[in-house]
């Protein structure tokens, strides 16, 4: 059963009417004409006070009676085989309750410094740390390779030296047609081509009126979330496990624990009441989670197992490095004609270093050839990190575009305009350029005469709309009028808790303070994982639908009180009234007091969007102003103007916060952060937050963030995500501003003083 609705869709105030069929029980989608009380406004975080006063309890703050502390013994070698483990000394150490190996079977290999070998549980954290040092591990030490360029050499020690026996021939197994070659430490290439072969692409680039070539390098960046990875695991009995986890997905983490420990999913509960950031590195049960649950089982005590900062850098994941060979060709007007990009990168012992997506998706270019290869090194495994591959790819692609613009004597913004027809992007250019004062920029490079030179640059973001389905949102209305919204979704710091309350308050005409949000608990029903910038887009339609259903229920309760039919009842400002007649009204609580049985509950699921799984780009543009000291090489980012879109904005306040955070992380990536491994031993030399440099308060530029409204009507809220797009363009924009200031292009991240001076020399 469907109903016909007409809604206003479009970008900002450029709206047009669209006819849409929606299921009969769905609310009419919010559109560009709706004047809403909370949605699109600025609501402070519901948990803000609890967070700043320390009342909010994170996984790290959990203290349970009888709780033990877990710690790993980790490999000091970048490549070795664990031959034997002697626990006797550790077991005799004060406070120690259990010691367990990381892997069931010996021998097993370790492939990076810091890889988990064994776990210990003791009464205090200090006892666990000291006992971990007493575990005697016999290693057979092997050759290793930690630098990308070395690992690519023919005679490099192999990170993965155990060959799989050739099983069934490819083609016998469905999916095997996508098998990637692996030669030495190089796995790949993963090839993407559009109307060009590898043989053709160079001549296509060469035939262009103007070409840009560059070899770009980006470093390894660690996630460095404020709260480190970890869990507290507690067996309620042999068959029931409760885990407090600093995770980006309560529900899937529950599934992992259930599968790993062969329990029914119903017997596992994962709780994430508050969470101190993840940036893509916190999915699933993880090493420490499994170890904590095992230690908890044998000791019959809750086990606290959080990583320290050093472990976080070693083994908590990272943004892989990259080495990108870029060739771009454009015509006289600046229109891209051919793109060639070959990249190698290292995600340590794992895969996933590709940077090709921005090349494939940012600009429509008919001829494209992209090869992406992983290079294995004896270093901690990469993990998804805030727009995987994108800040790296944009750093290269957008400098190439900038280069083309300067070669053609074009305004760098103009060349972007000529390479897009995306309505949202063009609107963002207009708003951003105006706010930044782009038209006042000096078209000349290195125009300042003193040693300290100012420059401006810009770069695009590109990301995609993802969402999952099935998430049930539950609303419970009680006889005293209190309203509870329940779902297992975790708030990883982005503010979804507040958004949920805003939606319910909006739909029911209540004050936000009257809505109680219960989230972060797998017992409350599956919520979206917070990855791919899909939390808000994933859960809000279910929440709105549940609120809409709750409203129908309350109409049914209220109708007899007014002597009208349920459709005639409206709710506004905490009161029920007959639509069109506000003169007589009843308080929400008065109506609720008549709920049969004293409570009702409605559940709504996240369904597919009205247009199905339509591929949609999320845009975004950032403009940066820098000051480059050409004598010391020090770069200061003075100002960033960011304009982003994420469908219909829910809470502008927390959205801007996320954009600000993305820019700060981008500045930090551009100028400072660098995981540095000792070339002789494979040890990270800066596993702290002192020598692993992260932007501090004085390094943060003046930031002006704007979120524009994009009304699509693809579901009842039209919300999309911002987490990832916000950090994609920053390093590229800064690099382009450095070029404008100095006339020197920096091909290598981070853009530290020594590299600036070398480029200027």
């Amino acid at each position: 059963m469907t109903k016909d609705v007409r809604i206003q869709v479009g970008v900002a105030d450029n709206l047009q009417e669209m006819a849409l069929k929606v299921p009969k029980n769905d609310p009419r989608p919010w559109d560009g004409n709706d004047q809403l009380k909370y949605i699109g406004g600025r609501t402070t975080r519901l948990d803000g006070v609890a967070k700043v006063t320390g009342a909010a309890k994170y996984t790290f703050d959990m203290r349970l009676p009888g709780m033990l502390y877990g710690k790993f013994a980790r490999s000091p070698y970048p490549a070795a085989v664990v031959k034997s483990i002697d626990y006797s000394k550790a077991l005799k150490a004060p406070g120690v309750k259990a010691v367990l190996p990381m892997q069931e079977k010996l021998p097993f290999s370790v492939r990076f410094v810091g890889q988990e070998v064994a776990g210990v549980a003791a009464k205090t954290l200090n006892q666990a740390e000291e006992a971990a040092k007493l575990i005697e591990i016999e290693y057979e030490v092997k050759n290793f390779t930690v630098k990308l360029d070395d690992a690519m050499k023919e005679n490099a020690p192999l990170v993965w030296d155990v060959q799989v026996k050739e099983e069934a021939s490819a083609g016998d197994i469905p999916g095997q047609e996508n098998t990637l070659p692996q030669v030495g430490n190089i796995r790949g290439p993963n090839v993407s081509a559009r109307n060009a072969t590898k043989e053709e692409i160079d001549s296509l680039v060469n035939a262009s009126y103007v070409t840009s070539e560059g070899v770009y390098r980006t470093q390894v960046q660690t996630h460095s979330a404020m709260e480190t990875h970890g869990v507290v695991a507690k067996w309620d009995d042999d068959k029931h496990l409760t885990v407090w986890a600093s995770t980006q997905s309560t529900f899937r983490t529950r599934k992992d624990f259930a599968e790993r420990f062969e329990l029914p999913e119903a017997n596992v509960r994962v709780i994430t009441e508050h969470m101190g950031g993840g940036f893509g590195a916190k999915f699933g049960a993880d090493t420490f989670g499994v170890m904590a649950a095992k230690l908890s089982k044998v000791t019959q005590a809750p086990v606290f197992f959080m990583l320290d900062r050093k472990e976080e850098h070693w083994a908590g994941g990272n943004r892989p490095s990259s080495l990108q060979n870029v060739r771009l060709g454009a015509n006289k007007e600046g229109k891209l004609e051919a793109i060639k990009m070959l990249c190698h990168g290292s995600a340590g012992i794992g895969t996933g270093s590709g940077t090709g997506n921005p090349f494939k998706n940012l600009y429509p270019c008919e001829k494209l050839y992209v090869e992406e290869s992983d290079v294995f090194t004896n270093a901690g495994m990469g993990r998804a990190f805030r727009a995987p591959g994108h800040p790296q790819g944009i750093f290269a692609l957008e400098q190439g575009m900038d280069d083309l613009a300067y070669q053609l004597g074009l305004d760098p913004l103009e060349i972007r305009r000529r390479n897009t027809s995306h309505e949202v992007r063009l609107k963002e250019y207009e708003i951003g350029a105006k706010k930044f004062g782009w038209s006042q920029r000096n078209p000349k490079v290195a125009a300042d005469s003193g040693p300290i030179k100012r420059g401006v640059g810009m770069a695009n973001s590109v990301w995609y709309y993802f969402y999952g389905t099935g998430f049930p949102a539950t609303i419970q209305v009680n006889s005293d009028g209190s309203v509870e919204i329940m779902n297992g979704v975790q708030d990883i710091g982005t503010g979804i808790r507040t958004v949920l309350a805003m939606i319910v308050a909006e739909e029911l005409g209540l004050d936000i303070s009257e809505v109680k949000v219960k989230i972060g608990d797998s017992d409350l029903g599956a919520g979206p994982a917070s990855g791919g910038s899909q939390t808000t887009g994933g859960i809000t339609p279910a929440v709105r639908k549940a609120a809409y259903l709750a409203k129908q229920k309350m109409r049914e309760v209220a109708a007899p009180l007014f002597g009208v039919s349920p459709e005639q009842i409206g709710f506004e400002n905490g009161r029920a009234h007959v639509l069109g007649d506000p003169s007589t009204s009843l308080g929400w609580q008065q109506v609720a007091s008549r709920i049969p049985g004293g409570q009702f509950k409605v559940v709504a699921e996240r369904k597919k969007d009205y247009f199905g799984n339509q591929f949609q780009i999320i845009c975004g543009v950032q403009f940066a102003e820098v000051e480059v000291d050409t004598q010391t090489g020090v770069v200061k980012v003075k100002r960033v103007v960011a304009v982003h879109d994420c469908g219909r904005p829910m809470n502008r306040l927390t959205l801007e916060s996320q954009i600000n955070g993305g820019i700060i992380q981008g500045v930090s990536y551009a100028l400072f952060e660098n995981r540095l491994l000792d070339r002789n031993t494979g040890h990270m030399v800066n596993p702290n937050l002192e020598q692993y440099k992260i932007a501090g308060s004085m390094d943060i530029p003046e930031i002006d963030s704007t979120v524009i409204d994009v009304f699509k009507g693809h579901n009842s809220t039209s919300a999309m995500g911002i987490g990832e797009p916000a950090t994609v363009p920053t390093a590229g924009a800064i690099a382009n501003a450095i070029y404008h200031a100095t006339g020197a292009r920096i091909y290598d991240l981070p853009m530290t003083p020594d590299k600036i001076l070398a480029a200027l020399a």
């Binding site: 090489g633 000792d678 002789n680 031993t681 040890h683 030399v685 501090g696 390094d699 001076l757």
Partner: protein, 333 residues
């Protein structure tokens, strides 16, 4: 971290007696000490907390007009001490750019001078390096961008971490070192130990000795000084280059210059070459650049830090200019 006793003496004799216990060390602000303990670099059996000792917080004039600063004055207090403006400003400039406001509120002048190098191999217990009694310097063939540009041929290429020591050496300061039996004054330059003297030692303080005060000589007429720390980040960061200078300047002419470089060598590095360029000359931007070049002509960069020498050259020239009252950032030549 190991278990330890904690002693809280109320005066210097009690402190000196308490520290005689084997494995005992003094703890003032505890900033560096606790870092070293947490990293497993040291494992003292007793911490003698000396922050309660009032005698170590005194500021007094010496007989010859100098200034004695109690060793337990905090870095924050030094940064704001009115007596240190003018000729001695390099000291509060160094103090004010040390670490973070939180650390400056706790860290002390004496503790700052005794701190260990930030060398990442020294700070990692997995590396048995020469400064810790091991057989090799891992930085020499390792990751050494932040390591020494001078005096790096003696088997340890660490750099001294104390910004304050750079300013104090430039100002010719001394330390009053007291033991149960006696008291002696040594210059800050002599207090800090280079690898060529003793590769494992950082300073000359022996067990049973305490730094009582830091003594600044009376300033000379027309004396001036300047300190600047160049960081990569603007927030908390260690220097990539730091310079302290002091001289007497009459009619624009520089007399008796001292030019001291920090983050450059295992101990504060005095550039006699730069001093020779400046002595008896009128300070100009050009002269400052010449002195900076002279200073860096002696540098012996390691495998990865030649570009840091260039940063240094710019910073030396600027500090000389600033001290001499010349604007090094003015446009044009």
């Amino acid at each position: 971290m190991n278990k330890f006793e904690y002693a809280m003496p109320q005066d210097i004799p009690q402190a000196l007696s308490s520290v005689q216990h084997s494995g005992a060390v003094f703890k003032a602000g505890g900033v560096d000490l606790l870092d070293l303990m947490k990293e497993g670099i040291i494992a003292p059996s007793r911490l003698v907390h000396i922050n309660n000792i009032e005698a170590l917080k005194v500021i007094s004039r010496t007989k010859d007009g100098g200034l004695a600063l109690g060793a337990n004055l905090t870095i924050a207090e030094i940064a704001e001490l009115r007596e240190l403006s003018g000729a001695h400003q390099a000291l509060p400039q160094a103090a004010g750019s040390t670490a973070t406001p939180q650390i400056r509120n706790l860290a002390t002048l004496g503790g700052n001078l005794c701190q260990e190098t930030r060398c990442w191999y020294f700070r990692d217990q997995n590396f048995s390096c020469s400064h810790k009694g091991g057989s090799q310097c891992f930085a020499l063939q390792g990751e050494n961008y932040y390591h020494a540009l001078f005096d790096n041929k003696s088997g340890c290429v660490r750099v001294n971490a104390s910004s304050i020591s750079i300013a104090l050496v430039a100002l010719g300061a001394k330390l009053r070192i007291t033991s149960a039996e006696s008291s002696r004054d040594v210059s800050v330059a002599e207090f800090l130990v280079a690898p060529s003297q003793d590769i494992e030692k950082t300073h000359i303080l022996e067990r049973g000795e305490i730094i009582e005060a830091i003594i600044l000589p009376a300033s000379k007429p027309h004396q001036r000084s300047f300190y600047y720390k160049q960081k990569e980040k603007q927030s908390f960061d260690w220097p990539v280059a730091e310079v302290a200078v002091s001289w007497v300047q009459k009619g624009g002419v520089c007399e008796n210059p001292t030019v001291i470089l920090g983050a450059a060598a295992p101990t504060p590095w005095r550039s006699k070459k730069a001093e020779a360029v400046l002595a008896g000359q009128k300070i100009t931007k050009k002269l400052a650049e010449k002195a900076a070049q002279a200073a860096m002509s002696e540098a012996t960069p390691l495998s990865q830090n030649a570009n840091r020498a260039k940063v240094f050259e710019a910073v030396i020239a600027r500090v000389i200019s600033w001290a001499g009252g010349v604007d090094p950032l003015q446009e044009g030549k």
